[in-house]
Amino acid sequence: MIVTERAYLRSDGRKGIRNHLLVAYLVECAHHVAREIVHPFRESGVELIGFGGCYPNAYAAKMMRQLCTHPNVGGVLLLSLGCESFKRTELSEAIAASGRPVETLVIQQSGGTRKTIEQGRVLVQQLLTQMADVPRVPLEMREFVVGTICGGSDATSGITANPSVGRAFDRLVREGGSGIFEETGELIGCEAIMAERAVTAELGTILETAVTKAAAYYTVLGHGSFATGNAEGGLTTQEEKSMGAYARSGGSRISGLLKPGDVPPSGGLYLLDVVPDGEVRFGFPNINDNAGIAELIACGAHVILFTTGRGSVVGSAISPVIKVCANPETYQRLSEDMDVDAGKILEGRGTLDSVGDEIFDLSLAVARGDKSKSEALMHQEFVLTYKTFEPIGPSCLPRV
């Protein structure tokens, strides 16, 4: 099955559904200049990302590399202050090696704020010209990657939006595409059931261990899981609560475990382990929904399915975010921000299957160029913080 006939072919062979130019700051000190460079080009596909930290971090370096060479990205302008620890030359070389045009501006060497903004805007014009003639080719389903996340959940999330996305994921995986779900901290209680869905017993153990790690991590942070409010909302057990979030994964076999920045080797369903390895060091694994979205995108997600009950409005840089609204009342209030009204299931105007099909079809339409609501509203949230990960081993991606 062909997702779109007009994907952007990159020199590294990967294919995108958008052709964004990224302006990426490499420390917070370069953030303002980068934002000012982007501003006049906001409607020309130029987007802002960056890493605020001044201290080195291997995870952040990998994330930036994977994001700057994401299939939806056609070129990059790096913005450095000059004395931060981020290895800008390494990043620039990795981007160039992927066949993408890349330029770097160092504020300390280019005359300060005003002059760097001027030079940056000239470079953006040049890069946009260089990116304009990317070959357009068909994107096969087996090359299509979709991520899912939830935010602002309520009692409806687990019974409408999440299982509907699960149905869409079932169809995606059946057709040969890749689906990635995440947030192991919300899967506590599901680990045994999830392990049974792994394609190998060894992978099953790895999935269970990932959830155990999350449970330990959140315990240290003092975050309980099952609260009284959950019971009032009709939930009875820890596993039932987690099942509501887990429902987004659908019913396919689980093909592997990824860590942020790892790209699925082939079609299938993947769990993204977002909880850092080792001792608790830098605080909450993901400080907000966009931190998780950025990680899904770093794994190659072309499109993000975001389920919400209370109603989130966020989007993202790089890949379009599709909002699936679980609660019909929220949908009424925030319809300009919502792409799919999954709450209609509660009113008898749809079923999990019909809404699942709607989500799947909308993902394809967005891949073919339709703008999601958050994309049309120019949401381009982006967050990247400090983490520590051990690389995944071969058993995380078994060949079966």
């Binding site: 009692a155 409806t156 687990g158 019974i159 299982p163 506590i188 209680g189 599901c190 680990e191 059931i193 959830v211 155990t212 449970a215 330990a216 315990t219 019971a231 009032e232 909302g233 009709g234 939930l235 009875t236 057990t237 820890q238 596993e239 039932e240 099942m243 887990y246 429902a247 019913g251 299931i345 509660l346 008898g348 999990l352």
Partner: protein, 103 residues
């Protein structure tokens, strides 16, 4: 045919989810059988889709979310009073098995 006020998340589930508030005394239809709702139930609560025996797994999304702690009749509210979690906290388990080791 089930009641439009109740959602069956998976055909094999033995519980249904209320998708609007039901008042005590309301009559709902489960598989053609009329049952009386025993107490006020807000959105998101569960009713037994059929008779469930003590010890049987409660299935929602076709997945076990715990076990019945007594016999539950079709149409009864399934909640903290008649089911329990089967989940053993992994952190607690580790702490029990390896006291003194930091996790």
């Amino acid at each position: 045919m089930s009641d439009p006020r109740l959602l069956r998340l998976d055909p094999l589930d033995n519980v249904l989810v209320t998708i609007q508030t039901l008042q005590a005394g309301d009559r709902v239809t489960i598989d053609g059988r009329e049952v009386t709702v025993p107490s006020r139930l807000t959105l998101g609560h569960k009713l037994a889709a059929r008779d469930i025996r003590n010890g049987e797994k409660i299935l929602k999304y076709h997945m076990p979310i715990g076990s019945a702690t007594r016999d539950i009749a079709a149409g009864e509210h399934v909640h903290l009073h008649n089911m329990k979690s089967d989940y053993i906290d992994t952190v607690e388990m580790q702490a029990r098995h390896s006291s003194g080791r930091s996790t």
